[in-house]
Amino acid sequence: MLVVNEDIVVHDSEGRKIESQLVPIVDAYVDLRNYYARAYLGSNPNAVPNFWLAFTVSVPALGFSTYTVSTSKKPGAGSTRSSIYKFQMGEKPAIEVGEGDLKLTISAPPGKMINYVNKRNLVEESVDQSFSFYTGYNGSNDKAPQNSGAYIFRPNGTYPIKSEQASMTVIKGPLIHEVHQQINTWIFQTTRLYKEKEHVEVEFIVGPVPIEDGFGKEVATQIRTSLESNKTFYTDSNGRDFIKRIRDFRTDWDLEVNQPVAGNYYPITLGIYIQDKEKEFSVLVDRSLAGSSIVDGQIELMLHRRLLLDDSRGVEEALNETVCVLDDCRGLAVQGKYYYRIDSLGEGAKWRRSFGQEIYSPLLLAFAEEDGDKWMSSHTPAFSGIDASYSLPDNVALITLQELEDGKVLLRLAHLYEIGEDSVLSVMTRVELKKLFPGKKIAKVTEMSLSANQEREEMEKRRLVWEVEGEENQNPKVVRGSQVDPKKLEVELAPMEIRTFLIQFEVDLMTAAFKSTVDA
């Protein structure tokens, strides 16, 4: 046996060595890779790599940075390998993870209890995270038959999934700490902390959900805290405004409760949070999922559903997703992430909004191979599509930047905060259009309706002014961004406002000539 001394080294475009970490790829991920690569691509993937390479990057707005990955024989020059602990039941009462301000102290296997401490803002909370499943209701023999199915959630009992594992694996390195838990034979969970981030990332692999017992199952995770949330929770509307929800209650009528779980579920597109007098607890998702707060202090997310009966709304198929490699068919496994964070009351919005943008827009990676070391000197290693000195305000996202068929550019800017959502950021804000288009001269800016099919001014002129009962002759004042001055070219955005523009540039003859040759 021979220990190798070849290392991986990461450099940035200035030739500086970047700290990097090798994180082992464990069996649960190798299994996913092998099976799904064959299912999707019809061929066997090549041999499995042993590690993830992780490193911190810094990337300009609407732009890119370039890094090189190479090997080095110099001892100690390269990536730090992760330390791996196998943490056995009964060994130690708890283990601490977290390289940065956020520390989690996780109880002995099966590791259900977590003490959450943020050393920067001194927020501390005990968190208890678990899985359960609901069995899908079979209403075949009822007078008013109603099964659980693709549309309808109708549980028939809830069953906690107890982790039987006597050990957990803890992975530590300079950038990332991970805790791996094989919850049962079909749920694997990684709890991940980044040194520079103050949230917990939970990655789950759920499935194939077993159905051999003849029951469809709907798999949920519950994250409990001590927050006294008083039946109240908040869920987003299509990733935008948060709406207050109260368990077993509707604002518009006296609710007759017949489904205490299903009737309290709401769509989660961006996230869900609860709060009490001191803290708020937020969970963000990587895709739309059902969620709720079924008991005070707790947030529940439904992660996967595998059902055996149709729910009589026309589909006439059970929601029983399977994947096959030749004759080897299995229930679909789902891998995903959710993220949680606990803040002092009033401090959570900034994370929900700005990190929400990062979830929606993950960094885009592109790879090329190169012989030798000339890349950085022969290429442009860094680029930003906007003025190098400029950055959008923290409360604004650019949600569309698109060249249309006629050469005009469609631009949409969105204020990310509601009125009163954040003490600093819920204010009128400004974007300088000139700084968004360096090297181009704006000839004309036309504000459009949201779907860009009419001028905003025309639309407002045509708008019907309806009367609301009890508000007759009142005129509730709403502040919105003012019209764009064609010289200043500044866009004002009021809280939650989205503004849409068509932009024409002065034609750069060289570029136009070049484009016409390319397009020809």
């Binding site: 790599p49 609407l62 330390s83 791996i84 579920y265 198929e317 090329a368 309706s449 779907s451």
Partner: protein, 531 residues
Amino acid sequence: MGVVELIGVVVLLGVLCAESKYMVYNTSAGIDGGKINVHLVPHTHDDVGWLKTVDQYYVGSNNSIQGACVQNVLDSLLPALLADKNRKFIYVEQAFFQRWWRDQSELTQSIVKKVVSSGQLEFINGGMCMHDEAVPHYIDMIDQTTLGHRFLKEEFGVTPRIGWQIDPFGHSAVQAYLLGAEVGFDSFFFGRIDYQDRIKRKKERSLEVIWRGSKSLGSSAQIFAGAFPENYEPPSGFYFEVNADSPVVQDNVDLFDYNVQDRVNDFVAAAIAQANITRTNHIMWTMGTDFKYQYAHTWFRNMDKLIHYVNKDGRVNALYSTPSIYTDAKYATSKSWPLKVDDYFPYADRANAYWTGYYTSRPALKFYVRIMSGYYLAARQLEFFKGRRNSRPNTDALADALAIAQHHDAVTGTEKQHVANDYAKRLSIGYTEAEKVVASSLACLTDSKSSIGCGDSTTNFQQCPLLNITYCPASETDLSHGKNLIVVIYNSLGWKREDVVRFPPFIFPQLLVLDIEVVMGVMVRKKLIKI
């Protein structure tokens, strides 16, 4: 019955009612301020994929699953509209309309433009699909609406006035204020609200409200919003598809089963029942349902007669209408309306039937749609930086696939499995093309030699759409012989960003990990063992 006897019967009836002849129906009724106005709104609800794929619905294949063919609807509609200028129709799903439009001759297209400009055919909603309202991301809702609306503006010079979300399973605040008021819609109609809520609203005549969906934008982004009393179908007994079992209006006295008075009575009774739960003297009847009007003439023939005889009867006023005409009529009454805030979730159509499962159904498809949405946003930026080409490759195929995937039986997970596969396949095709745009744009932007264009950039950038299953051929490259892996990292946000990236490199093909055992919690360095 023999032929001779049949003739005998006809002759007999002919003798009894000698005035039987070609009828001209008076369908010209407008609004009558002194009566209940029954706005007949002929429509079809064409799911952009559900039990069949979008293309199967369009061409009418796979009919053993569902007899539905959108081509039949649009083909038969045109002559039916031309037969009487008072007839009206609304069309909604642009994914279907665009498929049909591309198939038409110039002559047909010019006729369609005429019926559009005369208001006989009105486009409402106007997105590529009728998107779901619970699970789509607002950026996807905007993009798919924009795609349909810009097509309508360019081809017809029209801007849809009305939101028409008649089938989605509950309704969102963002739909009301953002995809409603901010799109410039004058009103917004829908079919599905909680059964308990519906009972109360009928009693209080509050199915129609002013919906103020955003606390922040308040009255500046409010909209007139109407929930239908039952669903988006006609009142029971007024279905006139070729194979429907509602009694057709039989006004030929020479034939058996003459039923004009019965049908008029049925009509008036249904109108009064609805008027009793509705404010003002305007009610809307949604004359159509899923994939109806495959032979448009049966509907219009019967509605022509109903309008004619009901108005002759005079107790109520029936008219061909559209949601725009209906909205204007409501507005003209200058009444004030109940205020609605927040949203209409969750939706239950009866006890123990909460439509909250679909918030999670097909979570893998939901993730695919979301990740493609973020990618599409980034790809369009890079397409712009390089300069868009109207020739391929461009991001249009991904735009189209993503638009269709927002349909209320797509990203919702409420379609048949083969249809879910079809959505994923379209996304994959769209991604593959957008990936080329991204790669060539990055090649262009990293190529420092060219100052005005990127004709000669040669770098072949590879990306990793399967990174979520730890599969990335582009990074799993052998670097053992002095090769470097170049990683270009693009950030589509408007802020500088610090983040950790992860991918699997394959540096040591000759190595295997043997020892990861750690005893008693003591750290042991992972050994790399050469074999």
